[in-house]
């Protein structure tokens, strides 16, 4: 038998030891995961600040969970869930309502029940969807973010996006982003002249009005932070469809930006939370959702992110501007048509 060295180590012993070491290394993550207090949460990239500062420390002390979060767009979270349907690694996902509908259709969610998540009984009735497949937790409101140095009198109407003096001064979100829908619905209202409840179905009128917006557009974004940076720097004056949880904290930090609530109305951002079907650590995931819907987390997030809490026992968070309508669209209609709208929008806006 071949000796490797004078220590008595044979080639066979070395191979056995290596195989054992390799098995141990490969198996370690599964073994550790089995006893883990770690859960992976999918959320929006713009949630990073409060997920890090508020949610992660609270969850560690309240339910002993170590939170790993992946911040990205709702559509990307949906793709992650669909791609890993057979072996999910996300336990909870926080994403927007139209994408939640697609997740339900793809059988990716487990219902949230009052037995496992008692705090859901304190939610506003309209915050619980499709028999508990998902709930809204906090809701920011959306309007037009503007640079106060260049628009000191504010933005009284959505028509400002189309005003000739704002040529090259406007950025709007892509329809790939949920907040992109607000510009589409406003275009539908202004283009059709109908009230929102009817205008939201006037898609052709919306696209015709959007075409008239092209001379004023500097760009269309899918990465909001870059567009917001240009607003802060005064490179643009108006950023359409932005929301209170992003603009108002920046305003509070002294940045020359503010969020306008134009007279035609504002929109409720549809921030939802759901349990991933077959996701790891289901009990911990339910405890996480329960905490997110409970009074402590609701008050903390609503205050931090200038949003409206969904829990009726909580008095905190953003003050919704008075005197303007706040709209919530037919998300089922959006979910059904969104892919076609994205393609149409990209072709319309292309240079």
């Amino acid at each position: 038998m071949t000796r490797i060295s004078a220590t008595g180590l044979t080639r066979r012993t070395l191979l056995k030891s290596s195989a054992a070491a390799a098995f141990g290394t490969l198996a370690a993550p599964s073994i550790l995961r089995a006893q883990s207090t770690e859960i992976v949460i999918g959320c929006a990239g713009s949630h990073t600040a409060w997920m890090e500062e508020i949610v992660a420390p609270h969850m560690k002390s309240a339910i002993g969970a170590d939170i790993l979060f992946e911040g990205t767009k709702s559509s990307v979270n949906l793709e992650k869930m669909a791609s890993n349907k057979d072996k999910p690694y996300l336990s909870v996902v926080q994403m927007d309502d139209p994408v939640m509908i697609q997740a339900v259709e793809a059988d990716l969610l487990s219902p949230i029940t009052p037995d496992a998540v008692p705090n859901m009984e304190d939610l506003r009735p309209d915050a619980v969807h499709m028999d508990g497949m998902w709930c809204n937790y906090v809701q920011p409101w959306a309007g037009i973010a503007y640079n106060t140095d260049f628009a000191p009198d504010g933005v009284p109407s959505w028509e400002a996006l189309w005003a000739p003096e704002n040529a090259g001064q406007v950025i709007i979100p892509s329809l790939q982003n949920t907040e992109g829908m607000w510009t589409l619905f406003v275009a539908a209202m202004l283009g059709s002249g109908k009230p929102f409840s009817e205008a939201q179905y006037e898609v052709d009128a919306a696209f015709a009005k959007l075409e008239a917006l092209k001379p004023n557009l500097l760009s269309v974004y899918t990465t909001m932070s870059q567009a917001f940076n240009l607003l802060e720097q005064g490179e643009i004056t108006l950023l359409s469809g932005n929301f209170s949880s992003y603009t108002l904290p920046r305003k509070a930090e002294g940045v020359p930006v503010d969020l306008a609530a134009p007279k035609e109305g504002i929109f409720a951002m549809p921030s939802g939370i759901c349990l991933v079907k077959g996701g790891p650590n289901p009990e911990l995931a339910q405890a996480y959702v329960n905490e997110m819907l409970g009074p402590d987390m609701q008050a903390a997030i609503a205050d931090f992110a200038s949003s409206v809490p969904a829990n009726t026992t909580v008095k905190a968070g953003a003050v919704v501007p008075e005197g303007v309508q706040i709209y919530s669209p037919d998300w089922a209609f959006v979910a059904e048509n969104r892919r076609g709208w994205i393609e149409r929008f990209d072709k319309l806006m292309a240079l």
Binding site: A82, Q176, L218, S219, Y221, T222, E235, R339
Partner: protein
Amino acid sequence: MTGRLDRIGLLAVPALGFLAAIYALPLAMLLAKSVQTAEGFSLAEYRAFFADDYNIRVLARTLRVAALTTLLAFVIAYPTAFAMSRAKGIWLTVFLVALVLPMSLGVVVKAFAWSILFRANGVLNSILMGIGMTERPVRMLFTETALIVGAANVFLPFMVLPIYSVVRQLDTRLPEAAASLGATPWFRFTRVTLPLTLPGVVAGSAFVFSMSVSMYVIPSLIVGERQQNLSMLIARSFLYLRNEALGSTIAAILLAIAIAVVLLSGWLATRLGARR
């Protein structure tokens, strides 16, 4: 000798296995999806892609931007490679560090840096207005020019280094011999120096073109969604339209372009090498 070579060849097995598992296999699955329908094999997705004017415009833009990025990188890299080949000691180190160190900086950071330079009140516009070339700021952000400049900046090392490696081995006596026979500087450059350095140019161009034609983050940040390229269409197909067949089809087209560039550059390099 052959047996020894065979055993040495085994050293490539881990790399080949790695490539097969994480690259070739997923790629084959991806390509299969582009020709699979419920009815079986079909090229319908390819026909649909090429029948759409918008896709043709995106394809043309992708190729144009990649070609212009490669050209700009070449124009900057070629003299730089000669300067580097003449540099010695600390200056050569300075050149190499200046070339390689920015590669450690993320593309996102570079793209943000470019957006600062290109702003209406940015450095470039301040210079242009300061020297009286323009009275008002020129729009540079979200333009194709900005994209080409930004991409050429990111990919420049991949053009400089192959040319430098060839120029460094250039026999300096050949242009001198041409001069002694009465050749003008232009003649010496076009008939002696340039042909001898072309293999490096071909290799560098293949690198830069392949990376430019498939870039995603740089155009996403510098020009946004109004000037989509093929990679952005792929991401949109998979992530937002949830249309795997379309995404796979575009990916296959992009792959075909990349393979064509590699084969063409390999053929060119062989021909140019034979001519030397």
